[in-house]
Symmetry: C2
Subunit: 205 residues, 2 copies
Amino acid sequence: MTVHFHEEDLPAGVLADGPVAVDTETMGLVTPRDRLCVVQISDGQGDEHLVRFAKGSNYDAPNLKAVLADPARVKIYHFARFDLAAIEHYLGVVAAPVFCTKIASKMTRTYTDRHGLKNLTEELLGESMSKQQQSSDWGAPTLNDAQREYAASDVRYLHRLREILIERLKREDRLELAEACYEFLPARARLDIAGWADKDIFSHE
Amino acid sequence: MTVHFHEEDLPAGVLADGPVAVDTETMGLVTPRDRLCVVQISDGQGDEHLVRFAKGSNYDAPNLKAVLADPARVKIYHFARFDLAAIEHYLGVVAAPVFCTKIASKMTRTYTDRHGLKNLTEELLGESMSKQQQSSDWGAPTLNDAQREYAASDVRYLHRLREILIERLKREDRLELAEACYEFLPARARLDIAGWADKDIFSHE
Ligand SMILES: Nc1ncnc2c1ncn2[C@@H]1O[C@H](COP(=O)(O)O)[C@@H](OP(=O)(O)O)[C@H]1O
Ligand SMILES: Nc1ncnc2c1ncn2[C@@H]1O[C@H](COP(=O)(O)O)[C@@H](OP(=O)(O)O)[C@H]1O
């Protein structure tokens, strides 16, 4: 289990085929304002890759973009909506097809309202995660060890969570409904970028 | 321009080909509790058809269901989410493909937060609608003239609104985004029936 650090792009050929776990770190929650600083990606075999973008980056990352845009690779996220928006806005690709562990959690763990990644990994995997670096300066010239470890841990458990959540979705007859949500997520992210971030477009009001 | 009243099903062959405007009247806003009382439907040629379901109805309405389920007919609604849920729950069909004038309004009339059907018909068509019968007893043994007129008026303007809203969506480059929302609407309605009516499944919380 190694955390690999890269600047401005993923090296070619470092990922096994199949679904990849993806997360992003940004300067904040307002996508068009808060630049994309790090993309984390893992093929679920034990290693995590961090791709760092410097201030002023042109986000010209052909290897990373090819993986993200690959229609044959499912991208596993926790709260995909946010990452899809950052990736589309800064990297210019729609990083689908999607599996979102937060939506799967909402649709199966109806006995709780705690759908944070930390809650999920604790309950479903018995692993504890530190969220201390969540609000940190991801735009700093160098990322410290705690930040790197935090960023890597955000993609470390997603493959295993997905397996369990797929079983739960099947058990509760909600896999199809979850998949309909996943299909809409790229459009939901585009609405966020376009200015509807604070609106539920489906609400009556 | 005639309002046609039918009990328990639409007669065969009364609608021209093409998109149909659809609305429903129910006993209230909680779909599994509040039974479907009336389905209104119009082909946009000037007539409106009201299909009335009595208390205890088995909702065995083959002609109406065939029109609603026809994948070649766009169904035009105002706030499709609610009607799709009532139709799926009581009639057992997914009444898609969808055009929703409320979503189109939200995505184009960004200069206002008034996206009610009355607001739309006034601004875009210069027609005024009475909303007096909106909260009335749609389960009564007979519907009075004011109710019939109200129910019919709810589908009367939808074809014309759709034409104008499609032009606006194109002008603002948002037609594709609106269509992504329309595709998700049947799943959004299924979530409502399944118990997520008060939740935005895409929210962080
Ligand atoms: N409105 C919001 N509130 C909190 N977190 C949000 C958010 N919008 C997006 N996020 C992102 O969602 C992730 C947190 O999800 P959760 O709380 O469910 O574990 C965070 O990602 P990171 O952990 O990568 O920073 C955070 O950046
Ligand atoms: N939460 C809600 N509040 C108000 N109206 C709602 C609603 N959920 C569904 N509706 C339906 O949405 C329609 C009103 O839309 P609008 O206010 O945009 O004109 C009404 O249909 P009817 O007019 O057929 O009764 C109403 O029944």
